[in-house]
């Protein structure tokens, strides 16, 4: 995962008609350099650790704008709060397997499933914009530990 320079991030923000504030640059860099699915509070804490002055409100507002600009994806794993992941340089959309025991998230992509989704939309004269496909269950490691 190549670290992106501040200059490049500024460029990205400006291309999306967002002022290149230090808070936004730091937030984008954080999501750029991790494969974690952080929630807003975790992002706030990480930015604070990095000596950034930032408020929760700014984290939420920036995330909202970044999601609108499709630079970031907003994910709901059914925990009562949202998680976010970087979307730049991702060529493929992906869905998630979520382990209900350990919380691990496995990403997957299945072309046939995507095709079926389009078929369903066509059948119902529905114009899709986004979708969420989350499969909840138990991962192999957790079953190995305790088959239950």
């Amino acid at each position: 995962m190549a670290t992106v320079s501040n200059q490049e991030l500024k460029q990205v923000l400006r291309e999306h008609e967002m002022k290149a504030t230090s808070q936004r640059i730091a937030l984008l860099k954080l999501l750029n350099n991790t494969s974690e699915h952080y929630d807003a509070e975790e992002i706030y804490i990480e930015l604070r650790k990095l000596q950034k002055t930032v408020s929760r409100a700014t984290v939420y507002r920036s995330l909202e704008t970044l999601v609108e600009q499709q630079l970031v994806s907003k994910l709901d794993f059914g925990e009562g709060r949202m998680r976010y992941e970087n979307r730049q340089e991702r060529d493929e959309h992906h869905d998630h397997l979520i382990c209900e025991r350990c919380g691990k998230v496995i990403e997957f992509f299945n072309l046939e499933m995507e095709a079926q989704q389009l078929a369903v939309c066509e059948k119902h004269d529905f114009l899709p914009s986004t979708h969420t496909m989350h499969i909840f269950g138990t991962c192999i490691e957790c079953r190995a530990t305790n088959p239950n």
Copy 2:
């Protein structure tokens, strides 16, 4: 949609090791007799209309138990609150198309998609329990009104 008697609902609750309280019977009957996807507050208001003494806490607690018992499904349409639907007598699981303009929810079932989900789980040695598949977009009526 055949109305189920209180006696039958009592029976159902007892079969699931839940005390057959009047609040639970009324809640279950409400969900049984509608195809709406109510949220907790709407359920609370409906039960009040029906002259039932019930508190919000009881609505939430009962729903939680009913979901555990798989008598009710908990749905997240990305509105920041959960919705619930009856699950009894439904032989088929189904997924949802959600119109981002008018909020309409269209239910669908696609066997091939379900098969692909199982295939993905197998591939990742993942034991699935439930899944959510929500496609967001614009329904035909909204596009007819304003193609955009």
